[in-house]
């Protein structure tokens, strides 16, 4: 097995619980976790122990095509610091005037995670028990999402290829995902200068709602199979937990640091032509610091899948939302009792 493994943020808890004794406890390794954004550290903390060194940011961005927004009489400021209800109203205008959906996604998966994380929500209660039916945040986000689908302002795609394709071909007016999506957006070089970035809308009427979120992003873990753990930890400490130079070098690939000192580097303050000269990197460093920390459970992926299934059943097969959420909760509970 490898000495060091890179894991998606939402997978760390699942892997640590599923494969006990495979991942090394890094709590007392000498890595200074306080130098990373708190929400990010929470992703790799299981039962109070640190199992990972945070790497690239998954801070959510809302990126819009300014030319398409202009056709509907909007600028990117109209979509900054707003709520989802306001967003849906404006998105309907864009749809009506341009015929284009605001966003698309490979199913609902990433979109729901962006929304749930933005209000610090979780599928699980304090004791780690699944809680989806009696969960105000999940209920509210479900209603908002279904409204977006109904109005045609969010377009569900079957595959990742069509998701990126429609985004690059200008069939939708924007993209909302972890900031790593920027490298896919920038693949359409002819659209340089037409995009702008802002924060995500916040969920209406729930506690802890913010305009900041996270989706994706990744974390380094060290395995117990590693024959020289001191060396592995020293390596991580000198690079991903200690080198602004390293983060400067990898920035063009849209790997944005969650190691706070990296954000102070000059490279992060460069304006980016593609996004109309916005200083997108320092914006995202700022977003990263404001992401609420969430309780991520080992059954995160199962819960997310069950939620998507519930919403699909409501949207396409005429199911009742409350009943479907209860069924989703039951499904996850069934898996958890193995």
């Amino acid at each position: 097995m490898a000495d060091i493994i890179l894991l998606d943020d939402s997978m760390v808890a699942q892997e640590v619980v599923s494969y006990p004794d495979v991942f090394m406890d890094l709590t007392d390794s000498g890595i200074d976790f306080s130098e990373f954004s708190a929400g990010k550290v929470a992703c790799s903390t299981v039962d109070g122990k640190n199992y990972g060194v945070p790497f690239d940011s998954g801070a959510a961005i809302a990126a819009y095509r300014t030319d398409i927004l202009a056709e509907a009489g909007y600028t990117v400021d109209d979509f900054t610091d707003i709520t989802w209800s306001e967003w849906i109203e404006k998105a309907k205008v864009v749809k009506q005037k341009t015929g284009k959906a605001m966003l698309n996604g490979q199913g609902a998966y990433n979109q729901l995670t962006v929304m749930l994380t933005s209000c610090g929500g979780s599928y699980f209660d304090e004791d780690g028990k699944i809680q989806m039916a009696d969960n105000k945040k999940i209920k509210k986000i479900s209603e908002l999402y279904l409204e977006m689908l109904e109005a045609g302002v969010f377009q569900e795609e079957v595959g990742w290829d069509t998701y990126i394709g429609n985004m690059n071909n200008g069939n939708v007016a924007g993209a909302m995902n972890g900031c790593w999506i920027m490298s896919s957006i920038q693949a359409a070089e002819d659209q340089s200068g037409l995009w702008a970035i802002t924060n995500v809308p916040k969920v209406d009427g729930v506690s802890g709602a913010t305009n900041y979120s996270s989706q994706g992003g990744s974390t380094w873990t060290v395995t117990t199979a590693c024959k020289n753990p001191e060396l592995a930890i020293d390596f991580l400490n000198a690079t991903f937990a200690g080198s602004t130079e390293l983060y400067d070098n990898i920035l063009p690939s849209s790997a944005i640091a969650t190691w706070i000192p990296a954000g102070d580097s000059e490279v992060y303050k460069q304006p980016v032509e593609f996004f109309g000269g916005q200083e997108v990197y320092s914006m995202i460093v700022d977003f990263t610091a404001k992401v609420p920390s969430c309780r991520i459970g080992a059954y995160e992926a199962s819960a997310r899948t069950a939620w998507v299934t519930a919403l699909t059943n409501v949207a396409y097969s005429g199911g009742d939302l409350d009943e479907e959420l209860a069924a989703a909760e039951q499904t996850v509970a069934f898996e958890m009792e193995q």
């Binding site: 377009q155 079957v158 069509t162 199962s302 998507v308 699909t312 396409y316 097969s317 898996e335």
Partner: protein
């Protein structure tokens, strides 16, 4: 010691068989047996303990497994007769000795079977995309106003998965039927003609009975393949929308590798499939195979 001729021949035969037999034992039967043992265990990976029939009793409470079985059975019941029927018709048509360019037709019909499932999935996904070929045609003909997301809706997604299956398998089964047809002695047809049988009578009274062994083989293969269908849903829809196109094999995969692994439960589900396939095959052999 001196071997008799017969013994030596037997030994030579076994020497040729042994490598294949060993490979089948190591690659198929050993994992099968291990899966059987694992189906009686639960717990975290590497720390599983024996818990008897608990995985099997859980299956009875699993509504998603029941849904997946329903999707699978629907798939078998609808696609298998269509595949066998079409393959038979095409084989008879292409077996006509007077037909020209036979080779080209046969190749065209067989090619889908040789295309990898991932490539087929890409083709069909773009064909049925909201702005894909099928929608463009329907819009231009005035049947639709805007593109319909075929793979995003449960019923149409299920139908498309079946279409892909039929498209891929018809050519494959046709080859077996062609081989079967060519092994029928032309003299039988000549004799029938002399006795005044029409071509329809020849088809039902000569072709079909003579093809029975081939049909049995095609049926058993198609049913078994359809019960274990996995590639189509993984590559085209990922089981969605919701779980509308999730067959049982895909569900088993998800139970083992999709989230927190539950290998014991996945193995128990696999054993159920094994039993179902076994029973169906036995039934078909009973009904179809009248050889002494």
């Amino acid at each position: 010691m001196k071997l008799t001729m017969k013994k030596r021949e037997n030994l030579t035969g076994w020497a040729f068989l042994t490598p294949a037999v060993l490979l089948i034992i190591i690659m198929n039967f050993v994992p099968l047996f291990q899966a059987l043992i694992m189906s009686f265990e639960t717990g975290r990976t590497g720390k599983m303990t024996f818990t008897g029939l608990s995985n099997y009793t859980r299956i009875l409470e699993d509504s998603r497994a029941a849904d997946a079985l329903k999707v699978t059975l629907e798939y078998v019941v609808i696609t298998v007769p269509i595949i066998i029927g079409l393959a038979l018709i095409l084989a008879v048509l292409l077996n006509d000795p007077k037909l020209k360019l036979k080779g080209i037709y046969r190749t065209c019909i067989f090619v889908p079977a040789a295309v990898s499932m991932v490539a087929s999935a890409v083709i069909f996904r773009s064909l049925f995309a909201a702005d894909g070929f099928v929608n463009s045609v329907l819009i231009n003909l005035g049947i639709l106003d805007t593109g319909y997301n075929f793979l995003g809706h449960p019923t149409s997604a299920r139908i498309i998965l079946m279409v892909v299956r039929v498209w891929k398998m018809v050519g494959y089964q046709m080859i077996f039927f062609l081989a079967g047809l060519q092994s029928i002695d032309a003299g039988i047809y000549e004799a029938a003609k002399i006795d005044g049988a029409t071509s329809l009578q020849q088809f039902f009274h000569i072709t079909i009975p003579m093809l029975k062994p081939t049909m049995l083989f095609a049926l058993v293969m198609s049913v078994n393949a359809a019960i274990q269908v996995y590639d189509e849903s993984v590559n085209l829809t990922n089981g969605g929308p919701g779980n509308a196109t999730m067959p049982i094999a895909h569900y088993i995969y998800n139970m083992a590798f999709g989230g927190v692994p539950n290998f014991g439960y996945a193995c128990a589900l696999s054993m159920i499939i094994l039993v179902v396939v076994g029973i169906l095959t036995m039934l078909q052999m009973r009904v179809g195979d009248k050889r002494e």
